[in-house]
């Protein structure tokens, strides 16, 4: 369901602002401001809102601008839902009482065929003490310049092209080719892994380790591979489900 216009919905948690799929950011801003303007009296009682950006690919600055527009009408935005290529929004929005927001799924109309309603960069990546076990599913190919940041795990059903970046607090699984940059376990989760069907990254980062392929290396793996930290360096091995299971068990026994 792609909407043409900005939609407001009242939910128990407050107002839900659903943005239309409009690639022109200027026109999008205009639509949002006009809608708020025309209905400002109606929402006099609303003080908190959830902004649902759906499938839009917005930059952080764009997102701040949108939040700013809503807040200029006296409505504070408690969180942002959806969006591709976002990062660190959760942090800036946390000051608006996101901590008190209920943990339920706020998206009023879950759509079949769309990514799971996940919050991008929910929680603070710098507080690794409590790792999010949530997983953000990206059902598309990430192209150059696109960036996904999430405090939990990230699964990409598609490729991550050179120039694209995936940053996760937990593991990164790419059901496709990883040609860009993947940073798992940010900032300091050394147990994080990166798995891809074709692991040919520009650069791999796990926790605070960085690895790049050696110069002149043109290997073309045919089978899935896994990258992880072993003895203080990132190593890449063939991925085998059986082996991974076994190792997970061993890791449990060690504890």
């Amino acid at each position: 369901m792609k909407t043409e216009d900005v939609i407001f919905k009242g939910t128990k948690q407050g107002l839900c602002v659903i943005l239309p799929h409009d690639d022109d950011f200027v026109s999008l801003k205009g639509k949002l401001a006009a809608k708020l303007e025309s209905t400002s009296g109606f929402f006099a009682g609303a003080t908190r809102a959830i902004l649902d950006v759906g499938e839009l690919a917005l930059s952080e600055d764009d997102m701040r601008e949108l939040v700013g527009i809503i807040e200029s009408f006296g409505i504070s935005v408690s969180r942002v839902v959806g969006g591709i290529g976002l990062s660190a929004i959760g942090r800036t929005l946390a000051s608006h009482g996101a901590a008190g927001a209920p943990a339920g799924r706020p998206r009023p109309a879950p759509e079949v065929g769309q990514p799971a309603p996940s919050e991008v960069a929910r929680g603070d990546l710098s507080s690794s003490g409590q790792l999010s076990s949530e997983t953000f599913l990206v059902r598309r190919t990430l192209r150059s310049g696109q960036r996904v940041t999430f405090a939990g795990n990230v699964v990409v059903l598609g490729d991550v092209n050179a120039g694209a970046e995936v940053v996760a607090g937990g593991d990164i699984v790419i059901v496709g080719a990883l040609r860009g940059v993947a940073h798992a376990g940010t900032p300091d989760n050394k147990r994080a892994i990166v798995v891809a069907l074709r692991l040919i990254p520009t650069q791999l980062r796990i926790a605070d380790f960085i690895a790049r392929p050696p110069d002149g290396d043109h290997r073309a793996p045919r089978s899935p591979e896994i990258a992880r930290i072993r003895e203080d360096r990132i190593v890449i091995e063939a991925y085998s489900a059986k082996k991974a299971e076994l190792e997970e068990e061993l890791a449990w026994e060690e504890r």
Partner: protein
Amino acid sequence: MGGKVIVVTSGKGGVGKTTAVANIGCGLAARGKKVALVDADIGLRNLDIVLGLENRIVYDIVHVIEGKCRLRQALIRDKRLQTLFLLPAAQSKDKEAVRPDQMKELTTSLAGEFDYVMIDCPAGIEHGFKNAIAGAEAAIIVTTPEVSAVRDADRIVGLLEAEGLGEPRLVVNRVRPEMVRRGDMLGIDDVIDILAIDLLGVVPDDESVITSTNKGEPAVLDGVSRAGEAFRRIAARIEGEEVPFMSMEVPSLWLRFKRFIGVAR
């Protein structure tokens, strides 16, 4: 004692700005100069690929400007030349992430440490162009011998003059002598006639540039490449040397033989 900040620009896209920056930069560094190359094409970065340094990027120009890292951390040392450094552009941001005054501050601090600071300007005349020229004190205009490219270059000359960057120097790229001879391509003289600026160099169309660009190894470091030789001469002219312009003719087998035995040069 500050270095020289030079912007490489063209107006039109695809004429070889990035290739020129990489090759001239390498050419100057190969002469022992300390050179910093700045990719100002934020959102569409390429210079890192042409130099083969893409997989070394951790911080970029936007991180520096936002204060997320120090300038030194973002500078990537070239893998071949010890005195060549790259400040990469950000790929997931756009041109508005940087303001001209910030760019000026950045190039000024780079000029304090390097002999040459070369800025790879994005195509167009908008925000990215204004950023790229903000801190420059000299300009190199790259064009190809095509009417559209020359027209855009002419517009750039005017815009640079308005910004106080007078006397830019011209590099005519991808010249194909046989086409010029047939009258199918603008000649160097025609281009100079239209633009009326000093000629810095003429670079022949050379397939080796495409392969070297793909491999991330600038042609200037390849002793055989004719384009590489042209860029070496450009670097020498930037250093103030008087170097004759290269003959655009591909030497015939007979001539090469005569050179080999030493009866011709």
